[in-house]
Symmetry: C2
Subunit: 159 residues, 2 copies
Amino acid sequence: MSEIKHAIQDYYPSDLAHCFGCGRNNELGHGFRTGWNGDETLTVYEPPEAYTAIPGYVYGGLLASLIDCHGTGSASLALHRKQGHEPEDGVEPPRFVTAELNVQFLKPTPQHTELRVTGEVEEVHPKKFNVHTVVYANNDIVAKGLVVAAVMPDGFGKA
Amino acid sequence: MSEIKHAIQDYYPSDLAHCFGCGRNNELGHGFRTGWNGDETLTVYEPPEAYTAIPGYVYGGLLASLIDCHGTGSASLALHRKQGHEPEDGVEPPRFVTAELNVQFLKPTPQHTELRVTGEVEEVHPKKFNVHTVVYANNDIVAKGLVVAAVMPDGFGKA
């Protein structure tokens, strides 16, 4: 998983880096990491054994989680680049929340296999991005996803 | 969570009860349990502390997982009832897989709060059911979901 050298999640503001999916400050979480791979985004992950649907196959909720965090990370990468930044330049990137998540499960996803999740980011509004996602296992497309990601409002969650 | 006396997942075939979300044979999983509440289905769950998005709020991937398993469980309840059975009569219920999952995240979901997930099941084909789902926290609607659930094909995952 070191293939992604500079992940956007490595640079999220520290008080917003506790996400179970992709927060570096969540010790129990998955630690998903998303970076650029040319003009596409990429997350690479091999799910732990427990995340099974039926023995031998990956749990759909894990795939949904992976697509979700990959989506918000991809949107962050894209807006950050639009603003003239790359993850490694040390500027805090914008954080996104998921407004809507859609997952099509196309094939059973084998366990003990590295999953490769790609993203194409489409700006639909300056604060709203669609991330079109494909999940590959052994070069097979096992799922497709759409994440509608919105810039996290100021004071989000500080009700 | 004992409110649901007879959950459909309590009666899934033992070799198909390892799901991280709702399998009684998965010691590390969530153990979601789904039963009838009148003509609706119901899952009740309080997410553990680690499943955070940002501190104080529930991780979207957990909500997606909850909606997913609630959806397949609801479809199983509905087809089982159509075939003349209730969970507690001891007949193995049909198992479903998720073809498609859609989640709308409507409000930040507070942690340390019991979530109540309701389902209305719509048969669109003898082997395919749409489960329309609403997630409540403290009587607020925090998310809505649609699960397209299909009867698990014979030999699923036995490639």
